[in-house]
Symmetry: C2
Subunit: 331 residues, 2 copies
């Protein structure tokens, strides 16, 4: 687990989108986001106090989180200097970059010399078991998508927030780098060795109170040729009681696969349910989450109404209209 | 690729079953199996000439293959001594043991000193790509099972042999340790990192002649909670044109999962076909392979006839009755 709270390192972000990890932390764990650190030329702003490393330490920060993508796939000298300074001041450093912190000798030396931790959340740090398929106590909801990157993480986080606000027991379970940095914990499923994928998801969603819900971050899609195996391991390891279907309505082909069209929501419903019921015969689809960011308000409303009428399931864009109806459908 | 031919190391095999890797090589690649090496107390016999290391080198052997499971999860001192001797005599050493050859300092030193290779086939040795889902030339047949260990490797090897005997172009594609040691090449799919599973199968089954068939070794089962993700990656990376359903009729529950019953052959057919057609709309189920080892001849015949009548597909036990009908159904 990554120690909180965080100082969000925005580096020299080329634009706000480059800092989407920082934005995710700011949006979903505002209590963790105490301050930001920006280098000259930074084009992102989380509207948090700009802090020096010393100020962050004084404010109680425990970890500097790299909240920005690096340019050109290298961790620049400017960045290294700040990260070393943070380690020397007593902070841990966490990152989801492809280039690992632990591959940078200066960082490794500074971490060792100061007894601090480098968290590369792309790399599993646990020896996961092989899945045993046994039922666990507590409830689990999994977001499944017609494609990759259609809003599965957002949907699960929005449902967690809504349930927590209602006083219900709920925990978002991160299965990707951004989710892990947001919550400080999780499984980097795409980096787990094949045999242990489903077991890592069982490990992530253990026995819990009978009325507790795990809201599991989805990955990939059963219909995505590159990543479908990851998705099925998530379904079989997660043993969901409820599935929420996620979709982005303007996409013309599967992400990264120009010759593949997206499945229909009916096809996703039937296929995901079929696979989920192998491990949990009681699994049901409880709602639909549509990412309508590309549509105007009227168009979005009309689309949501149409899908809801067609599918007979609560259909919302949780970003636009909140996750209340998705949560009400669970219970 | 592992250099052939082989000296099969049987060690101090506790029983013939312990040497099933050696038996697989002996059965399926007899040209590779020049001799065997046995330690005192060995209870396995491949009916090959017993050879010293020197005799094996003189006979043209290139690699000593550990064809036996080790006891208690350690590579014993007796084994190490023989393997070092082999390396010093100019042989490579290959193994599918959980304990890696490269974790044994004596073996690493001897390999380096003599310029030889240690092949741990449980560990991927290639940086596989992410799958791109594009169609490749040539044909592919994949064995899919109601469960793990129901005869998928055997079925694919038997089909390869039958096709080769008929002068048809066919290549068995190994996806597990035993298959890799048998053929000298392949992908240890259960050890591949999640994101690259499907890509490793695309890599394994590249463009080929239009009338060439890859016979892909299956892994796991879509219905096995522990390994289903591996199976789906294999289906989506392999883009099969044909599926052969594999089943063991006396099994009372899924292997290693006492609370899970096996799916019906109809359920396997429908589910595997549904998933395969996402990447290859022309995919069809062409035959059924039943492992009848636990049944008498009459009972086996009756069962095969019943399943064939019920499913409307050629149904054979390739071990008992050959793979001819499975192969004829392909073309």
């Amino acid at each position: 687990m990554i120690a909180t709270p965080y100082l969000l390192f925005l580096g020299d972000a080329a634009d706000p989108l480059a800092a989407k990890v920082a934005q995710g932390i700011r949006d979903w764990r505002p209590d963790y986001a105490i301050g930001q650190f920006r280098l000259p030329g930074c084009k992102a702003d989380m509207r948090l106090p700009d802090m020096t490393i010393e100020q962050a330490v004084a404010a109680g920060v425990k970890t500097l989180v790299v909240g920005v993508a690096n340019r050109g796939g290298v961790i620049s000298k400017d960045w290294i200097a700040v990260l070393v300074q943070a380690l020397e001041a007593g902070l841990d450093v966490a990152s989801g970059l492809h280039n690992l912190l632990t591959d940078e000798p200066e960082l490794v030396r500074a971490a060792e010399a100061n007894g601090r931790s480098l968290h590369d959340v792309r790399v599993p740090s646990v020896d996961y078991p092989i899945a045993n398929g046994e039922r666990r106590q507590g409830k689990r909801c999994l977001a499944v998508g017609t494609d990759c990157s259609v809003g599965k993480m957002y949907t699960a986080l929005a449902m967690e927030r809504e349930m927590t606000a209602r006083g219900q027991k709920a925990t978002f379970r991160a299965t990707g780098q951004t989710g892990i940095l947001i919550t400080g914990d999780g499984v980097p499923l795409d980096a787990v060795v094949a045999d242990f994928m489903a077991g890592s998801v069982e490990w992530l969603t253990p026995d819990n109170d009978p009325d507790h819900w795990d809201l599991i971050e989805g990955q990939g899609s059963l219909f995505h040729a590159s990543y479908s195996g990851v998705t099925l391991a998530l379904i079989h390891g997660g043993q969901p009681d409820a599935l929420v279907l996620c979709h982005e309505p303007t996409r013309t082909h599967m992400r990264g696969l120009p010759s593949y069209t997206l499945p229909s929501l009916e096809d996703l419903r039937d296929t995901a349910l079929k696979m989920a019921r192998i491990v949990n015969p009681g699994c049901v689809v409880t709602g639909i989450s549509i990412n309508t960011a590309a549509l105007g308000e009227d168009e979005a409303r009309r689309l949501l109404d149409d899908i809801e009428a067609r599918m007979g399931l609560p259909t919302v864009d949780p970003y636009r209209h909140g996750a209340a109806r998705l949560v009400e459908a669970l219970v």
